[in-house]
């Protein structure tokens, strides 16, 4: 359904755009209906940039985002873009910043109505909203007509998801949608995504928290400095990390039942010298993505690049 091919983004920074910053380099991945693809990486690794390119909010420098056979970058014209957004929507990291603080929270619904359902009658629209709010398990009475600050982060985040569901979306880009939420509400939102996935929605799930990645995702893509260093089925990547970076990430995740010291000890016990397991087969420092197991790819790049 969604396919990224050789996606690259170069920002020009500095005075007069003299410097170039390679935020995303040569990224390729696919998202199928009903699949959750987690995009994991440290801060600044280019996750959000990929999300924004998928959503058409930033033009790629090279490569293409293909959705249902069409190149997103070519969606010129207001009408075409609108049609794209009818099927592809995004939810962002910070629910508070997603709502215009001077308006009530349900303005996000009103915007959708104004652009996509100008002919909907009031009762019809109310019914529609009620249905969507029900999906995200929100009580309309509690959230409608309120200002963003009167709602909790979880409520707001769910409102945003409900907003996306007003349209018949097929693909959702969820950019760190839970990192701003409390542990107690996080899980609700994750569960909701799980439900949506079950209904056939494709989800590009962007996160830097690996533990959350595993909870709902089918495929995990590890990103480092704009490049995919490892990708594959979530279980494969987590249970048999190949790239040293992945392993280091995993070892750094604070876990409830395993301390960092234990994690290090485990790694050491496994005889991990800190090298890339892929390099074993491709000696000579650095190699393009290779398949180490079925669907499990590892790329090893010269960091100085």
């Amino acid at each position: 359904m969604l396919e990224l091919r050789g996606l690259t983004k170069v920002y020009r920074v500095g005075a007069f755009g003299g410097e170039r910053l390679h935020a995303v380099r040569d990224v390729g991945l696919t998202v199928h209906p009903g699949e959750v693809v987690s995009l994991v990486g440290e801060s600044g690794s280019g996750k959000s940039t990929i999300g924004r390119m998928v959503l058409g909010l930033a033009p790629p420098t090279a490569g293409t985002v293909v959705y249902a056979g069409t190149d997103v970058a070519r969606l010129r014209g207001h009408r075409r873009r609108k049609n794209y957004y009818r099927e592809v929507q995004g939810v962002f990291q910070d629910p508070f910043s997603c709502f215009n603080p001077v308006f009530t929270a349900d303005r996000v619904f009103a915007l959708i109505r104004a652009e996509y359902f100008p002919r909907a009658t009031d009762p019809e629209w109310r019914r529609r909203i009620a249905a969507c709010l029900d999906t995200v398990r929100l009580d309309p009475a509690q959230v409608l007509g309120k200002y963003p600050h009167q709602l909790s982060g979880g409520q707001l985040q769910r409102l945003l998801i409900a907003r996306a569901l007003l349209l018949d979306i097929r693909l959702l880009v969820a950019d760190e949608i839970i990192s701003m939420l409390d542990a107690s509400t996080r899980i609700d939102v994750l569960n909701l995504l799980g439900d949506l996935k079950a209904r056939g929605l494709g989800i590009l799930f962007i996160t830097h928290d690996l533990s959350l990645g595993t909870y709902i995702s089918d495929t995990t893509v590890i990103l480092r400095r704009g490049r995919i260093v490892e990708s594959g089925a979530t279980t494969a990547v987590f249970d048999h990390p190949v790239h040293p970076y992945t392993r280091r990430l995993l070892a750094s995740v604070p876990r409830l039942h395993r301390t960092w010291a234990q994690a290090d000890a485990d790694l050491a016990a496994a005889g991990d010298g800190g090298g890339c397991l892929g390099c074993a087969r491709h000696p000579g420092g650095g190699h393009p993505p290779v398949e180490v197991a079925e669907g499990h790819l590892v790329g090893c790049f010269d960091d100085s690049a």
Partner: protein, 291 residues
């Protein structure tokens, strides 16, 4: 919750009103402006003759009959003052309004569009910013054969906008990175309506304060032009009164009632506007409140 503190609307307005009612600066400023505005609007209605008619004895100090005395020719200074207030407010309104409009248009476009448009507009802004406005205005005014308050206001407006453009651009840049802007785009909104319906409402208090500063600035600039003798060729304004008082030797003749009121009027208007502005700043900006 992390550092981002929502700036919630309803609470904000409610609180703003609360603080507004309690803010002595805002109240005092508004009161003075209102009083002067009222004088400018109402008093001329009661003054049958125009401001330039010779109504009484010449060069009289303030008296019960002529509240602010009379000029060298026997014109009623109060009548001139009241009419002058009108003109002064008008110039402020037109000049401030146009400057605000141009500044916002440029600022919004530069900030939201970015890229080449931003570079170009920035350049223009910087150029206009550096050109000394009064000198440009002197030249422009000298160019005009007949000058009116309207034209004066327009010209002032066209030179006063750059700093607004800069400020609005900066604000737009920060607001444009807020996710709700992206969300509006995902909702299929067009750029222009995002700027005016999403970004601008967030800056409303800021824009209002900007307008107030522009209003005051326009009045001062107009007074300067009037004083040089490049004011409206017809009618009265406070600056023109000052000009006339000086030209007709009011200083040397000790006719303080002729040159003090117009200057005081301008100072009171502009000063009150500025003080109002601080008041508003304190009202809208929680960080300044305890002070």
């Amino acid at each position: 919750m992390t550092a981002i503190e929502p700036a919630p609307a309803e609470r904000r307005w409610g609180e703003s009103l609360h603080f507004a009612r309690r803010n002595p600066k805002l109240i005092a400023g508004t009161a003075v402006i209102a009083a002067l505005l009222l004088t400018g609007v109402v008093a001329p209605l009661f003054i049958e003759e125009g401001p330039n008619v010779y109504v009484g004895p010449q060069g009289q100090p303030p008296s019960a009959e002529y509240w602010l005395g009379t000029t060298n020719f026997g014109q009623d200074v109060f009548a001139q003052f009241a009419h002058g207030l009108r003109a002064t407010f008008l110039v402020g309104l037109i000049g401030g309004g146009i400057a605000a409009a141009v500044g916002m248009a440029v600022g919004f476009t530069a900030g939201y569009r970015g890229g080449l448009a931003d570079e170009a507009l920035n350049m223009v802004t910087n150029i206009v910013l550096v050109l000394p406005a009064l000198v440009v205005l002197i030249i422009a005014a000298a160019y005009l054969e007949a000058r009116g308050i309207l034209v004066q206001g327009v010209f002032i407006g066209l030179t006063a906008w750059p700093w607004v453009a800069r400020a609005v651009r900066a604000q737009t840049l920060t607001l444009a990175t807020r996710d709700f802007v992206d969300l509006a785009r995902l909702s299929g909104r067009r750029g222009s309506s995002i700027v005016f319906r999403e970004i601008a409402p967030n800056m409303s208090s800021y824009l209002f304060m900007t307008f107030i500063l522009l209003f005051g600035g326009a009045i001062l600039t107009a007074a300067g032009l009037d004083f040089i003798g490049l004011g409206p060729t017809q009618g009265v304004s406070l600056g023109l009164m000052m000009h006339n008082a000086v030209v007709w030797g009011a200083l040397q003749l000790g006719m303080w009632w002729w040159f003090v009121p117009p200057g005081l009027g301008i100072t009171a208007i502009v000063g009150s506007l500025y003080i109002m502005n601080v008041g508003l700043d304190e009202v809208f900006n929680p960080r300044l409140r305890e002070l």
